[in-house]
Assembly symmetry: C2
Homo-oligomer: 486 residues x 2
């Protein structure tokens, strides 16, 4: 007799009814080979006695098992495991709850070019790589709009499957908005709504790249963009970045050496160094692209945040050859978790991007997308932007003033013209591990882009998400860290 009471463990508080718990336990035992095809098991009356249950409950379980093809009741002879089932070699791997499998005896891909994901930690003082302050985000407004969209006459339609390319009204409103604010000449058909600019980068490069294609990127560059290109099969050609942006001379050299498929740029504020690509280089870049037929992927993730002057027009606004593919985002404007971004590209490319999007996650969230469209129409996004730019400009100045005053011995930096972070060079070489350990010890946490310290002797320090008190707190701790390292 098997130890039925141990095998079939009933949890009376569980969501699943008791009769199903019995059935599931029996299936598990058959599948794992402890119960063999043709084996007799106790009848419902006997089993009920063994398990201290009502006989009706066990009968229900047996009916379920008969219906599913696991048990057969032979009249006047008893209940048996269906004899045509295959025999499984029983291995005593324990009864349920022995934990999931960890070691897999199977080959699969390891994405060596992508850094392993490091979970975020929570510290009292944090310096990020340039995130917006979610406390300023008009989230209640967004939710109000979402509710009103969902309850509108067209709301139910938006809850079902919607256009792969993105909610139609948002694409229409956005094409107008991009024309007015950025001088871009695009129709709703040229716009693909994405899950933030990251998905924009992913879709664009998977559409562009065939294995072995060369893509030119600045050094240093945005990691997660490099990872996309490498995973798509591209070979990266790195060129220097100086105070005017990526070096066009270096790009020219590369063009004369081999065929280039694309270049990835963040010309408004180069990531991570924050410099703006100057006018001359913009024109030269466009000319080179036309001459050598390569695509310019322009990631304009923080277009709206420029403090010293008006934002610089994107390259996409003057491209007339369909060589510039433009990527933008609302995530910096609203909140990182509101993942709505967009691609602007020629329709031929949009058709292929749509196919890819279809298989990646089918579509975006049409309620949120429509809500953003309505907020744009009502000027809510623009009002928030104005306020946020003012706050972030002040925070940049507070942050940079302290850097100038208290860190003159330690850091070199340029006050950035826009964006949400300062690119800070360490005057003395510091072992990155030593620095971050010291930070942790003092209670300061730098959660992303840590590898730049090793690679460039510099760090990207976000000022936008911290208020005055938090900036003073974090930089105060940083000062102690730096002094402890002298």
């Amino acid at each position: 007799m098997l130890p039925w009471k141990t095998i079939i463990q009933i949890e009376r508080q569980a969501i699943v009814p008791v009769y199903l718990q019995i059935a599931n336990a029996v299936i598990r035992e058959i599948s794992q080979g402890r119960l063999e095809p043709g084996q007799k098991i106790p009848g419902s009356r006997q089993m009920a006695g063994l398990l201290d249950l009502n006989r009706k409950t066990v009968s229900n379980a047996y009916s379920e098992l008969e219906g599913q093809g696991w048990l057969e009741v032979r009249p006047s002879s008893g209940v048996f495991v269906v004899s045509s089932l295959p025999t499984v070699q029983y291995q005593n791997i324990g009864i349920a709850n022995n934990g999931p499998v960890q070691k897999v005896d199977l080959e699969f891909n390891h994405f060596k070019s992508i850094e392993p994901y490091r979970k975020l930690e929570k510290y009292q003082h944090m310096i990020d790589d340039g995130s917006p302050d979610v406390r300023l985000a008009p989230l209640n407004t967004l939710m109000k709009y979402c509710r009103s969209v969902a309850n509108s006459r067209y709301g139910k339609k938006l809850l079902s499957y919607d256009d792969v390319q993105g909610e139609a009204t948002l694409r229409t409103v956005l094409s107008q908005y991009l024309r007015e604010t950025r001088g871009m000449d695009c129709k709703p058909e040229n716009i693909v709504i994405t899950r933030g600019s990251q998905m924009g980068i992913y879709l664009v490069f998977n559409m562009l790249i065939s294995k072995g294609d060369k893509v030119v990127v600045g050094n240093p560059n945005y990691d997660a963009a490099n990872w996309v290109m490498q995973t798509a099969g591209a070979e990266l050609e790195e060129i220097p970045v100086d105070k005017e942006g990526i070096s066009i001379d270096a790009l020219k050299d590369r063009c004369s050496e081999f065929d280039i498929k694309a270049t990835y740029i963040t010309p408004h504020h180069h990531f991570p160094t924050t410099v703006t690509l100057n006018a001359q280089r913009r024109m030269e870049l466009l000319e080179l692209a036309e001459q050598h037929r390569f695509a310019i992927v322009e990631d304009d993730y923080d277009y709206d945040f420029h403090y010293n002057s008006a934002p610089i027009l994107p390259l996409a606004s003057v491209d007339k050859k369909g060589l510039v593919i433009y990527i933008g985002s609302f995530s910096k404007l609203l909140a990182p978790s509101v993942r709505v971004g967009y691609i602007v590209a020629p329709e031929e490319m949009v058709a292929e991007i749509n196919k890819l999007r279809r298989i990646v996650d089918r579509q975006g969230d049409p309620i949120t997308e429509r809500a953003i469209a309505e907020m744009l129409k009502d000027g809510e996004v623009q009002r928030h932007l104005k306020k946020a730019v003012k706050v972030y400009r002040e925070r940049r100045d507070i942050f940079c003033d302290i850097l100038e005053k208290d860190f003159a011995d330690h850091f070199d930096f340029q006050r950035p013209e826009g964006g949400m972070a300062v690119w800070v060079h360490f005057k003395k070489k510091i072992e990155d591990k030593v620095f971050f350990e010291k930070c942790k010890e003092f209670g300061l946490y730098k959660n992303v882009d840590r590898e730049f310290l090793k690679k460039c002797g510099a760090l990207r320090m976000g000022f936008a998400s911290l208020n005055e008190k938090e900036i003073k707190g974090a930089l105060g701790v940083l000062k102690s860290v730096m002094e402890s390292l002298v």
Copy 2:
């Protein structure tokens, strides 16, 4: 003198201030070569006259252009385009608003294995491929939970960047829920939250497949899954599907012929034919996988919707070798636009899936994910499910009763035990184009899975999204269509 009034078109209603509109127009003209390096342009007073604007406005524009490096003011001689800018060959491609570029002179990938995306159309009568009824979805409840999560003490944290793997509380609650309802032994570390099951399929196969790997799939199978595998580089091996599910004998033959990397199955209700994989085949499949070391990707997209008996336990509940990767979804339960699904896999695989997810779209929507966790804890999801199953069972019976009564001459079908659609065989061969044109003509729209009519002489007809009146309406029109085709 250039036609300045035509070149610089001012829109007084636009969001962008007039001075920036002037600046942007000048940048466009320089970038496109109409204004050449070193060329003199009218001073601010003269330009103001030409454009009928205030001189101050033009001065502001010129300052902006000087700051950005496009213009230089030479004292007592005038305003000039910066002479160090590169010369561009001017092509008269018109002044703004001449429409975006359509034809791209650049190579890029065409995803030939993916069907072009066809926009949804709106007709009076529609038959889908088995979507839930969004009118039943507890969307107001979900929004209420989202609001309360966003306004909670932990809400602001969730608005910023969150865990790539998915919101922590949802993974914890879900691991408990899967254990209780599906007998699956998994920890929060084994769960990756995705954007619906489609992203689950995408991430899993891109983790598993190297170019040329063979994946066995049923014929017919879910298109968008086949597209994922093919795009990831897999070679598909099709095996027949009968009334008990995929043919294990055929799978055995394939295993003896070559190495198989994985099989993709929808065992609860095979897509599109709706049949349930029987007990014997389940056991044989697990045995084969273990013997030949291939992965079983189990897509259990509509687990919850089973009408004749309790849902059948997933294969993942009895796998102890880490060979079954399980994909589930809340999208059928809540609404297609609420794209929250999950993968359950061994931790080693989860690490690689996380890397890929990081570059695809960074993360999901932690507010919605946490809201679903709270709804699960409060039993809201379960309550909705109970109601929905009752409604869909009734609709299945109404739909199938009419098919039996009115379409005996035209169709063969099996009343499905679960899911949201019936698999309907046409007794007579009908040219698919003729059929769909007739449908349109009569005002009936079949929006997806149309290719099955050509391929299998059958169609998947969704009953769940239609109420009784709508079912009668749609099938009434379908009857007229069928009679018109005799």
